[in-house]
């Protein structure tokens, strides 16, 4: 009887852990798809789009996750195929220096003016 109980507990825990990893993969997939732009219906994410391109990308992302690729590797793969624009969250590179640094510079500039006025 005891052995049966242990067997059931082990069986259930294995079953649920599998379910959990599946859930995790689904969450990761949704997160990635929401961060990819659809090139056909521009302005929509691949997650929201029903275009043929979007459905192919959904399959590709699913396949890459199952192959064990990390999130950033999947983005890198898509960037290599379609350029930086396909990802909503732009990377810090020579084309986006201004985009990333300008708010910081304006903040520092504004802070310097305020500091000078207060002084």
């Amino acid at each position: 009887m005891k052995i049966l109980k242990i067997f059931i507990i082990v069986f259930l825990s294995i079953g649920f852990s599998h379910l959990k990893s599946g859930e995790k993969n689904n969450e990761l997939k949704s997160k990635i798809l929401k961060n990819i732009r659809c090139l056909i219906c521009q302005g929509q994410s691949v997650y929201d789009s029903e275009s043929e391109f979007a459905s192919s990308i959904k399959l590709i992302v699913d396949r890459k996750i199952n192959e064990g690729l990390k999130e950033d590797k999947i983005y890198q793969f898509l960037r290599e195929k379609y350029g930086d624009w396909i990802i909503y969250d732009p990377q810090f590179n020579k084309n986006t220096y201004v985009l990333w640094l300008l708010p910081l510079l304006l903040f520092l500039f504004g802070g310097a003016i305020m500091y000078k006025k207060i002084k």
Partner: protein, 173 residues
């Protein structure tokens, strides 16, 4: 004097902003991926259109010649307009045309080939569009030129025309 200088700076700044935004209005807001980047051909396995046997990319691109990969589908109207030009290109001995049948019904695709002719030395099937993604395509038709080093050296989005055919002929010469 100081106020005048500040006003001058503000006007210059606003004019600069106006100029940037005004220029931006004329830019197209539809993004198309860069077509000049040279990339290696993807490594893949796909079903052959005629034999239904799986073949790998190494086998498809095994010869030391130029290849043209054309993504097509029977339901794609622009593919019909470019088809006679592909038929013309297929007569060229220095190049092999590989057709990539995109998300198509096999019977319809076969009817298309029977009706308009077969310019391809080999056709592979892309049932779900994932193979086209590996090539960096996002629609049909798209045409890729692959050199002897198995590098994609040129990509044409949309149907090819006579001007593009001339360009292709110059490249594969």
């Amino acid at each position: 004097m100081k106020n005048k200088f500040s006003l001058f700076i503000i006007i210059i700044f606003l004019s600069f902003c106006f100029f940037i935004f005004y220029k931006g209005l004329n830019n197209s807001n539809i993004y198309t991926p860069k077509i000049k980047d040279k990339k290696n051909i993807p490594i893949f396995e796909a079903k052959d259109f005629n034999s239904n046997i799986y073949i790998n990319s190494e086998k498809i691109f095994e010869e030391d010649i130029f290849y043209i990969v054309n993504i097509w589908a029977s339901w794609c109207i622009p593919c019909r307009t470019e088809h006679p030009l592909l038929m013309g290109l297929s007569k060229n001995q220095t190049v092999k045309l590989i057709g990539l049948n995109y998300r198509d019904n096999l019977n319809n695709a076969k009817n298309f080939i029977n009706e308009f002719g077969n310019p391809y030395s080999q056709i592979i099937i892309d049932y779900d569009g994932t193979l086209s993604v590996e090539f960096g395509a996002y629609g049909v038709p798209e045409t890729f030129i692959i050199d002897k080093n198995k590098i994609i050296i040129k990509k044409f989005i949309g149907p090819i025309n006579k001007k593009i055919v001339e360009e292709i002929k110059l490249i594969i010469k």
